[in-house]
Symmetry: none
Subunit: 110 residues, 2 copies
Amino acid sequence: MPDKKAKTVKPASDAVEILHRRFFEGKPARLKNLEEARANEEIARKIHELRAAVALAQTQLAKLIGTTASVICRLEDADYEGHSLAMLRRIAGALNQRIEIRFIPIRRSA
Amino acid sequence: MPDKKAKTVKPASDAVEILHRRFFEGKPARLKNLEEARANEEIARKIHELRAAVALAQTQLAKLIGTTASVICRLEDADYEGHSLAMLRRIAGALNQRIEIRFIPIRRSA
DNA sequence: TTGAAATTTCGCAACATTGCGAATAAACTG
DNA sequence: CAGTTTATTCGCAATGTTGCGAAATTTCAA
């Protein structure tokens, strides 16, 4: 490894380390898990609401996307952590919707 | 480097769409695949743009999310069909962003 | 209360995504 | 040009997600 101590220049590696530090210091494991838990819960709720909105039973929605009720039930469980893009798309497709995915900047408040 | 321009894509899009529409008219299954292909392409592009925006090499982003450059490369490949929520979240998290997922009604027919 | 439909939980096989190194190609620097 | 960094491709093991039946629980209407 080349040894650089440049004060004047800012190698890309520095930026990486900074980002890395922000990632792990500014976002403790607990916070991150919390956010993930919330996200999962939100997805579960959206699926449930979507299904409820069209008044389908889990069994019916299951048939629409080619699976079983127990799978739908699992998806609507707020504690389920295995949500996938593939499944969301299948549900959206069956209900004549599409999935939109956006990256949204998080403003780190103080 | 294989064709990976991510600048302007407007010009040819019209003609391409017309051709595809004629070819796939009345064939939902294929249309659906087309939509999926587009969605995948869009995700790949978004990841690439996001990484480019913060001026990170694939290797650097890879380290941020705890993986290798070949994985990032795969994600940025427009033909990759294995995009997952989990990976998108990891990338978003590393870049101080969050993933927003929406179900959006499609108005069919016309 | 009773029965039927709907939902929930569990376990495991099948399938899909990720990890990761190594080799190749391309882009960049001097 | 050679040397360095970056990007791409491939294969396979490891991990994660889905499929699905069966049984337990809840909901609901009669």
